[in-house]
């Protein structure tokens, strides 16, 4: 008997949840603005402070890509595969396996990048491409809170392009060795022998005065 009651009770549970599913939620008010993706990626730059970036094309080893790709030497091949003849050095570690070359490189116009909505983007403007997913970063980049302004704080603004710091195929920043540590205060020394507890220069002074009783 008790078991039946329990079943009845459980069956009634979703009721209040369905009740929540009302017209109020379904209908979008007239005044609401639907978030929209830019039709033209350049729209993103239209309303931010004017800036320039250094050309990236000059820095690219294989550019112009067309020399091999569209001029007939290599047939377009969109298949996900292990590259064996060229570009083996590229170790695509971006997007957790969701990307392939042609996600960002235009398969028909090899000298260009391509957005998810199939608009062409220059290699000089990778911030338009990256901004499709990293839109918050893109906004910060335009406004100066991400990336870096070059040369001056005043006058025409030149920004560091995304791909100057991030390898687009492996965008994470790697750990590396820092520059030389500062000299300790005169008369003190740093002891790095114990990895778990690094003795600070002031430990030495503490050690020397440990017998003194402070009242």
């Amino acid at each position: 008997m008790n078991r039946w009651l329990l079943w009845m009770f459980l069956l009634c549970l979703p009721g209040p949840l369905w009740a929540l599913d009302t017209e109020e939620i379904k209908s979008i008010p007239e005044t609401a603005k639907v978030a929209h993706q830019y039709d033209d990626p350049l729209e993103a730059v239209a309303r931010v402070p004017a800036f320039v970036t250094d050309s990236r094309i000059d820095q690219l080893i294989y550019y112009p890509c067309e020399n091999c790709h569209t001029k007939g030497m290599v047939a377009p091949n969109d298949k996900v595969r292990t590259l064996e003849l060229m570009h083996m050095e590229i170790n695509l570690d971006h997007g957790k396996g969701r990307f392939w070359c042609t996600t960002c490189h235009d398969i028909n116009q090899r000298n260009q990048l391509i957005s998810l909505k199939k608009q062409r983007i220059s290699f000089d403007q990778p911030y338009l491409l990256c901004g499709q997913c990293h839109f918050a970063r893109q906004r910060d980049f335009f406004q100066g809170a991400h990336g870096k302004r070059k040369d001056n704080w005043f006058g025409p603004k030149k920004l560091t392009n995304c791909t100057e710091c991030h390898d687009p195929h492996v965008p994470q920043i790697r750990a590396r060795l820092p520059r030389k540590e500062p000299d300790p205060r005169l008369g003190l020394s740093i002891d790095n022998s114990d990895k778990h507890h690094r003795h600070q220069p002031w430990d030495q002074a503490k050690e020397e005065h440990k017998d003194e009783v402070h009242q």
């Binding site: 402070p49 910060d140 406004q143 100066g144 809170a145 991400h146 990336g147 870096k148 302004r149 070059k150 040369d151 001056n152 704080w153 005043f154 006058g155 560091t160 710091c165 920043i173 750990a175 590396r176 060795l177 820092p178 520059r179 030389k180 540590e181 500062p182 000299d183 300790p184 005169l186 740093i190 790095n192 690094r198 600070q200 220069p201």
Partner: protein, 315 residues
């Protein structure tokens, strides 16, 4: 909030000393120029006239433009004889409607110490002992305990280390600077563009300012600064990176010799992660204003009411 520069103290006694000194200077100057057989006795490598001139040199803020020019020429002659290179000493003035501010993104800072390198290459600090304006603190994640912060993390281990974050500190150019209040001779003051500067010729080396600074920003030349000739930056400013003497205090000046000409400070330029944002706080369209208005920012030891113009943010 606006803080005015403190007025200079009553100068009665100083003036009197100077007048007496001036008499002596005239006498010695006559000696120096008058008899060619004596020539100018070389005191160190600096001529007697220059020695006397710099001895009686006034406080920067009381010098007329001509006197400043003379002081600069004396310095250039001195550096020439000391380093055998032409060091240009400029005197860029604060720009109107500019108040400098700095913001640093601690989620970007990786602890590479590149800013430290950039700073010492620009600012003619002593290289041995190594004098650095920026101290990068290695901090335990999840806390802001400066007691356990480690500025000496070794250059043999890769950074960033797991469980650590990095907090570079330097002069915060406080809007209400305790160092300025502490200086007994007013050798350090806040300029109209917010940069706290030191007149190295007026500093008596008492180190009161270093005691008063809560950010360990001030560095003292305990020994004769050792600046090898190939590390001298020859583009200098009177109130910023001109080579210093033993026994004077120095610190970050937001690279006044660069920033007052519209350029970025050397640490911003050297930072490979873009963690550093520098600009004009009075310009509503500047990057620094965007950061202050849109990011979670904090200042170090804010409770001390020193009003630092150096913010940290994370994203």
């Amino acid at each position: 909030m606006k803080f005015t520069n403190n007025n200079l103290p009553d100068l009665g006694r100083r003036k009197a000393i100077r007048l007496v000194g001036m008499g002596a200077a005239v006498g010695m100057g006559a000696l120096a120029s008058g008899s060619s057989s004596l020539a100018t006795p070389n005191m160190g490598n600096v001529s007697l006239a220059d020695q006397v001139g710099s001895f009686f040199q006034d406080h920067y803020k009381r010098m007329s433009p001509e006197e400043i020019q003379e002081a600069i020429e004396r310095l250039e002659r001195k550096y020439k004889s000391k380093y055998q290179v032409e060091v240009k000493v400029g005197d860029p003035k604060p720009l109107p409607d500019v108040l400098f501010g700095y913001a640093l993104n601690i989620s970007k800072c990786q602890g590479y110490r590149e800013c430290v390198k950039g700073c010492t290459a620009e600012n003619n600090q002593s290289k041995d002992p190594n004098l650095e304006y920026i101290r990068v603190l290695e901090m335990d994640r999840g806390q802001m305990n400066l007691e356990t912060a480690d500025p000496y993390y070794p250059s043999t281990e890769e950074v960033p280390k797991p469980g650590k974050f990095y907090l570079p500190i330097q002069c915060h150019h406080c809007e209400n600077p305790p160092c300025v209040k502490a200086c007994p001779v007013k050798a350090t003051w806040k300029e109209p563009d917010g940069i706290v500067v030191i007149d190295y010729n007026w500093c008596i080396g008492c180190r009161m300012c270093a005691n008063a600074c809560p950010y360990w920003a001030r560095k003292f030349n305990w020994t004769e600064p050792n600046l090898p000739v190939d590390t001298v930056n020859t583009q200098t400013g009177y109130l910023s990176n001109r080579p210093r003497e033993k026994g004077v205090m120095e610190k970050c000046t937001f690279c006044a010799q660069r920033s007052r000409e519209g350029r970025m400070p050397a640490c911003q330029e050297a930072c490979p992660t873009g963690a550093r944002v520098f600009g004009n706080l009075l310009d509503p369209d500047s990057e620094i204003r965007y950061v202050l208005e849109n990011k979670n920012v904090f200042r170090l030891k804010e409770e001390l009411n020193t009003e630092p113009k150096f913010w940290y943010y994370s994203d």
